[in-house]
C-alpha cells in the first residue's frame, strides 16, 4: 500500500510539453502511472506522448475525471498553474518547479490550505509509491518495494537514503520529498500522520535539514501517533553549515537561534526518536524496528 498516490490514481501533468515535463512524464508512464492528460496553455487540442493536451485544468479534469496533478512549469508561471489546478477541483498536487518567488509561494500555500488540497512541494522531487505510481522525478531504479515510509525535505538526499535502504535489503512503501522551500504544502506533520494511517507502512524515516521549525513541530505530534510513534528514525542534514547563509534551499538557513541543527536533534530525541549522525546508520535502525 501507499499514501496519497495509488496505482489507480489518474494523473494530469501541467507543463507536460516542456523539456523536463516530457522527460519525466515518459518515466512516470513507463513505471505504470496512469497519466491521463497534459495541460499547457496555448497547446489545447493537441496531443503529446499519445495523450490529450488541454489549455487549462478545468477542461482536463472535466474530460478525464482526474483530481491529481503534477506541475513542471517554470517558476514564474507556477502561481497561475496552482490557481488553475485548485479552481478546477484538483485535490492532490505535486509541484516540482524550483525558484518560485516568496510572495507567490505564500499565496500558493494559502490557496491550497483554503481549498483543502494536499500539496507536495514546491521545489521537490515528488512522490513515489513503489510498485504503483510516480508523480515527479524520482529515479525508479533505486527503489525496492517494502514497508518503510520515507519523508524528506531534500530531493537528492531522498535518493541517497532510498538507495541505502534498498541495499540493506529493505524497501519503501511511499517516498515523499516535501521540498526545502520557505513555504511548503504537506510538512512532516501531515506526512507522518498519513503514514501512521497506512497499515502497510511499518516504520518511517524522516530526513530534515537546518532552517525553519518543521522538525520541532513534528516532534510535538509524534508521541500522539497511533501506530508508529516509536518506529521513526530521523536525520538532520547540514549540521556543519554556518549560520546566516542560505544553503541552496531557500529554507535551509539558520536565522539567529532559530532552525539550528541542535534544536532539531534535541526536539526529535526528546520525542524518543533516534537521530544518527550518518545517513548510513539509518537502515540498521530501521531493521531493528521491523524485526
Amino acid at each position: 500500500m501507499s499514501i496519497w498516490l495509488k496505482r489507480n490514481t489518474k494523473v494530469i501533468v501541467q507543463g507536460m510539453t516542456g523539456r523536463e515535463g516530457t522527460f519525466h512524464t515518459k518515466n512516470m508512464i513507463s513505471y505504470g502511472t496512469k497519466v491521463v492528460a497534459g495541460v499547457t496553455p496555448g497547446k489545447e487540442n493537441t496531443t503529446h506522448l499519445d495523450l490529450p493536451v488541454f489549455g487549462n485544468c478545468s477542461d482536463a479534469v472535466q474530460e478525464t475525471g482526474s483530481k491529481s496533478s503534477v506541475i513542471f512549469v517554470p517558476a514564474r508561471f507556477c502561481l497561475a498553474a496552482v490557481k488553475d489546478a485548485v479552481d478546477a477541483g484538483v485535490k492532490f498536487l505535486v509541484v516540482i518547479s524550483e525558484g518560485i518567488p516568496l510572495h507567490d509561494e505564500i499565496k500558493i500555500g494559502a490557496l491550497v490550505r483554503k481549498n483543502n488540497v494536499t500539496m507536495v512541494g514546491p521545489n521537490c522531487p515528488g512522490i513515489f509509491s513503489v510498485g504503483e505510481a510516480s508523480m515527479g522525478i524520482m529515479p525508479e531504479s533505486i527503489f525496492k518495494k517494502g514497508n518503510i515510509g520515507l519523508v524528506s525535505r531534500s530531493g537528492t538526499l531522498t535518493y541517497e537514503l532510498v538507495d541505502l535502504i534498498s541495499r540493506a535489503g529493505l524497501g519503501i512503501s511511499t517516498a515523499v520529498g516535501i521540498g526545502g522551500d520557505r513555504v511548503i504544502g504537506a510538512r512532516f506533520i501531515e506526512t507522518l500522520k498519513a503514514f501512521d494511517e497506512d497499515e502497510e507502512t511499518s516504520a518511517i524515516a524522516m530526513v530534515g535539514e537546518i532552517g525553519g521549525s518543521d522538525e520541532e513541530e513534528a516532534a510535538e505530534i509524534i508521541p500522539s501517533l497511533k501506530r508508529l510513534s516509536k518506529k521513526i528514525v530521523g536525520f538532520i542534514g547540514g549540521r556543519t553549515a554556518p549560520p546566516g547563509k542560505a544553503m541552496g534551499h531557500a529554507g535551509a538557513i539558520v536565522e539567529g537561534n532559530k532552525g539550528t541543527p541542535q534544536s532539531k536533534v534535541e526536539a526529535l530525541e526528546n520525542a524518543g526518536i533516534l537521530v544518527p549522525e550518518k545517513l548510513s546508520e539509518i537502515p540498521g535502525i530501521l531493521k531493528g524496528f521491523i524485526d
Binding site: E20, H24, A75, R76, I96, E98, G99, I100, P101, L102, H103, I106, K107, G109, A110, L111, K114, P125, I137, M138, P139, S141, I142, S152, R153, S154, G155, T156, L157, T158, Y159, E160, D163, G180, R182, V183, V207, E209, I210, G212, S213, G237, G238, R239, T240, A241, P242, K245, A246, M247, G248, H249, A250, G251, A252, E277, K278, L279, S280
Partner: protein, 377 residues
Amino acid sequence: MDFKEYQGKQVLAERFENVALGLVTSDPNAVVSYGCEIGFPIVIKAQVLIGGRGKAGGVKLAFNKDEAIQISKNILGMDIKGHKVEELLVSKAVDIKDEWYMSITFDRSNRAMTLIFSIEGGVDIEQVAHESPEKVIKMPINPLKDIEILKLEKELLGSGLKSKYVDEVVKIIDSSYRLVVDKDLTLLEVNPLVLTEEDEIIILDCKMTVDDTAEFRQSNLFNLDPKKEESREQLAKSQGFSYVHLDGDIGIVGNGAGLVMATMDAVKNAGGDPANFLDIGGGAKAEVVRNALKLVEGNPKVKSIFINVFGGITRGDEVARGIADVVNEAPPRVPIVIRLTGTRSEEGLEILKNETDLSVTDVMDEAAESAVRLGGQ
C-alpha cells in the same frame, strides 16, 4: 539582495512623501555645501549593509561646517563589522518627539508576511518584545486579502499609539504592505518611524531586502546599485549554481542542496573541513558542471575535490561529460573523488572510465574518507 538605507529610501519615495531622502556622497566637501544649503545641524550616516552603525560610530550629528568635514572624513573608510564605508547619507536633523518601529517580514511559522509595530522604536525590537510584549503588535497578513484595517486600528490603539496618529500610521502600513508585495520584498523595516515636534511622521531609516528568486520581474531593483561588485557567490549564481564559501580545504560539488549539505557533514565526519557548499542544481548540464569544477579548483585553499552526484532530474551522463571535459582540457591541480549514482549513472561511469583516469566509488562515506585522505597528502 539587501539594500543600503538610501537605496531602500529611493524605493520608498516612489510611494511615500515623508521619506528623509537627503544626499548621498563620498565627498566631505559635498557634505559641507549640502549642510549650508539645508541648514545645520545635519545627520551624517555611513551607508553599509550591516546593522549597528550607530554603536560603531557610523552615525553622527554635525552642527557646523568644521564638524561636518571632520565627521565625514572619520566615517568614510571606517570599517563596520567588516564592511568598509564608501558612501554617506546626509540629511537635516529633525526634532524627534517619538520613535516608533515598523516592519513587514516573512514569518515561517505562520507561512505569511507579518507586520510588527511598536511605539517603542529606535531600539532593539527583540528587547522591547521581551520586556514589554504589550507594546509590540505582531499581526500575520492573509496573502489572499488586503490588510484588515479595522483590526489594525484596534491593535494600534491597544499598543498605546495615540488615536490622532492612528489614521496616518494605518495608511503608512497599508501602503508599505502593498509595496512589499509589488516589489517582491522579503523584508521592509522602518526603525525609527519618527514623530517630529511638528507632529509630522517621517521615515527616518529603512532596511530592505528583495527576494532573489524574483529577479526576473524586479530587474529595476536589482540594477539599483551600479557599483555592485560580483562576488564568487554571485558569479556562481550567474553560471547557474549556488555557492557558499567556507573555510576548509575539501572542495565540494554536488547536486541538490540537501545532498550537498549531507556531503559537507560526511566530510566533517571523516575528519575533513569543507571549503565550500556548491549545488549544481537540478537538471544540470555538462557546461554547468564544468564551470562549477573550475570555480572550486580556483580556490587556492582547496586540496582535494569531492564530487557527489545522485542522478534524478540531473543525469549522470551529463555530469560525467562535464567532468571528463575539464579533466581532459587541463589535468586537475588536486585529486578528485567522484561518487556517481542514480539516473543514467551507468552511462556516466562508462564515460569516466573510458575518457579519464579518475577513480569512482558509489558509497558516500567511503568517497568522503578518500577525499579527506587524498587532501591530506
